[in-house]
């Protein structure tokens, strides 16, 4: 069984720097419509209730993944130009990722009720 998990919640580390997550996929996500501006829904992310593993449904494909702690944390930085002086603002830090490294499985209509 799968439970829907895309409820959003403000997550912050102790210091007030937001903590973000990385969703890592092999290859690229290609959209049919190019150059979409702003937010786009690319798929559905769920967690299996059974083993807590993440599962990503992208179009007609399903990807099984796992939650991984980054060996080395990352910082998300943004270039800002303050009166000609270049600075990088730390937007967020990332400590964990959802890694989807297995081959996407196609969803065939007559088994789709299993998913």
């Amino acid at each position: 069984m799968i439970s829907t998990a895309l409820n959003f919640r403000e997550s912050e580390s102790v210091s007030g720097v937001p903590e973000w997550a990385i969703v890592e996929l092999q290859g690229l996500v290609q959209m049919k419509k190019e150059a979409t501006v702003g937010r786009t829904v690319i798929g559905d992310l769920h967690y299996y209730q059974r083993n807590r593993h993440p599962v990503l449904v992208l179009g007609h494909h399903i990807l099984n993944g796992k939650e991984v702690k980054l060996e080395q944390p990352m910082a998300v930085i943004e270039k800002v130009d303050i009166e000609g002086k270049l600075e990088y603002k730390i937007k967020a830090i990332v400590k964990k990722k959802l890694l989807f490294k297995s081959r996407p499985k196609p969803i065939i209509s007559h088994v789709s009720d299993k998913i």
């Binding site: 069984m1 409820n7 007030g16 997550a21 690229l28 967690y47 080395q72 944390p73 990352m74």
Partner: protein
Amino acid sequence: MQLDDKLLKEIESGNSLVFKGDLDENVVLCTEDKTYDVKEAETSNSLLLVPNLLYAESTGDQIASRAELDVELNKIQAVKIDGYYRLLEFDYEFRVLSYMLDLIEENSWPLNRISKEITFESLKDLVPESVLEALFRFYTVETSKEDDIQYYQYKQDKVCRFLARVLLKSAGKFNFTEFLQAWRDSVPEGMITDESLLSGIAIVDKNTTPQVVWGFSENDLPDDINERFKTLFRTKAKWTVDEISPYIESYATEKLNVNALLTKYARASTQDGVRVFSAKHMK
């Protein structure tokens, strides 16, 4: 930008880091007291950044989908009263169900022609409507429709199982033959009790004289699967697959079915030509 623990601490304590370097030399990153070499790395994987992602551990059970929730609530027979889900006490459920079943004889209804309207009308002063509504839904199925009147039938197996639990409720073992008689007498006329219905709610020991039966429900067992198997084998040394299934089914998954669970947690043997399972580690 990939960090080490020291850099992470710097960021978390709100300190700034400084990139330094000329056009003709490598960039370095400086903290108050350290200098880091900066290297560029490439990956062919896509890294999508997700703010505020809810991880599995923090999702808990509260995010079960509405449909899953309804299935579970129905399974545990939760009754919605004034906007709150409540569980009926066993004795109360028995009392209300008895009122409902008594109407069958009172009105000489054939088992497949139960009237919901008359049931509700007769009991409206005794039982809150929400409770009646819920129990009627749990215990009946629709049958025929005549002259725009819908008739119902009580789910025979469910009624029989519940009444068996009532009889077995008090602690201790019962003479199996006497129990079967009392059980037959307790159900509405025309309903047939059958030993197979006891699966998951009672254990029958046929190796004793006289044969005995006692109540044993899944709810009484520990949630931890190892503990559960321990308790099961302590209660009864040898089980057939059919006997033990109701108590471990909730742990089965698509990949690991009941048989696989038994292979993993129990020892199989054959007794009088029947495959039985016992504890893996005999004491």
